[in-house]
Symmetry: C2
């Protein structure tokens, strides 16, 4: 099925499905293109039935669902896979074992973080599982940033409910609790905040997020940019400077 | 690969890719769901390299690309296919020949049109090819509506360039020329306008489209609703009344 030299992006999605759709939209809008034919061919495997990505004893294992999707994308001819779900990266090594390169959302986000906050203290938001796995903290600390997280209470009363709101199609309601946590992280010294769950940028963008006055790393956009770099090497070189400028401007 | 009783939606997309992403977002947001697992499993085959859907002599034939996508979706286990590109429906019979049910965007849009304008004069916007094929006009006239179209000049100076703007990631610029044509159709007696090219709702929604004061049939939403009816029979019954109410309210 694969034609010589074509690069088809696989997207293992549905976790959640709105974040997958947003990934596809941002992949399109961030690709410098004058017409459809300049855009990146992609196959999105959006299976929202994947059980919640939990590490709790007794929780249903999402792995058989992730594996099924990866095999479907491989059969479709995809040459690499983006997974627009941060928590699913807890299964990164297993996913790699299926034989396709997987673009790592934390590496992609670290590249974007570097543009807006080259060093210093960064706030990391995410699901409770992502934070407990230290998916971002270990990597970002190894790269020289200091990480702070929402408190246990902020997780329970704001972040976790807001993620559930987005997943329940109540996107606009998610803004206020997420914005409160961004403000709290900024007050505790964060110079930028990584939105390390793909539902969080959806909620934050449903409100006046520019008024928060702090650079936000949208992990959907970061992964889309990594995918464009994979599919069309060199294409972003000029426009990435413009994007970095925009991010800094929004931060003012 | 298909488990007993599961209904996986195939989406033959990339024409254009932003419209496909919007279809996936609207499929999610229009599905009554409290959590990811209530949403519809789907595979989006987004191949923006499909040549423009033209019927011109000498134009490259899009059919081999459409066929490749349909075969990919069939292999992935999809049970029916939605094609969020109106003009591609000019190849509807050929697509059906690949053995999967194809949800017809014109039938889906006629169902939505009936909610907002049970009879009377309807404006039909679309690509020049869609209008020349009379994809909407023949079907809507058979169902009792009278159809009017943009003039040749409006097509050349407003609709066709606006569709190209959306495809070139200049979405916001497309609002003004599209809005001007909606107003012109309303002035000529249209009681509603069918946005019969999936790039058109993207452009219209980039501006204050509610100020246009006329019901607009979003063919992306119409197709998403048809897909939900296929995947989850009966689920929309209550909420569709609410949607119809919202559409009428927006029209006031």
């Amino acid at each position: 099925m694969v034609e010589n030299g074509e690069r088809i992006l696989g997207v293992l999605g549905g976790m959640g499905p709105l974040a997958s759709a947003q990934f596809m939209a941002r992949l399109t809008l961030l690709t410098p293109a004058a017409r459809d034919q300049d855009q990146i061919p992609a196959v999105l495997w959006s299976d929202p039935r994947v059980p919640p990505r939990l590490r709790d004893p007794g929780a249903e294992d999402p792995w058989p669902w992730l594996r099924r999707g990866l095999r479907g994308l491989k059969t479709a001819g995809c040459g690499a896979v983006a997974v627009p779900c941060n928590t699913a990266h807890g299964w990164y090594e297993q996913m790699l074992g299926e034989g396709l390169p997987i673009l790592h959302i934390v590496e992609a986000s670290a590249a974007e973080l570097r543009r807006v906050l080259p060093s210093g203290t960064v706030g990391v938001m995410g699901t409770a599982t992502t934070l407990a796995m230290r998916l971002y903290q270990d990597r970002l600390e190894a790269l020289g940033w200091r990480c702070i997280e929402p408190s246990r209470e902020e997780m329970a009363t704001s972040v976790t409910p807001a993620i559930a709101m987005v997943k329940g199609n109540r996107v606009a309601e998610a803004y206020a609790p997420l914005a409160a946590v961004v403000r709290s992280l900024a007050a505790r010294g964060a110079g930028a905040v990584v939105l390390g769950c793909t539902e969080i940028p959806l909620g934050i963008q449903a409100g006046p997020s520019r008024e928060l006055g702090i650079p936000l790393v949208d992990t959907i956009d970061a992964l889309a940019l990594a995918a464009i770099r994979w599919a069309k090497p060199g294409l972003l070189e000029g426009s990435e400077k413009a994007l970095a400028g925009k991010a800094l401007e929004a931060a003012k």
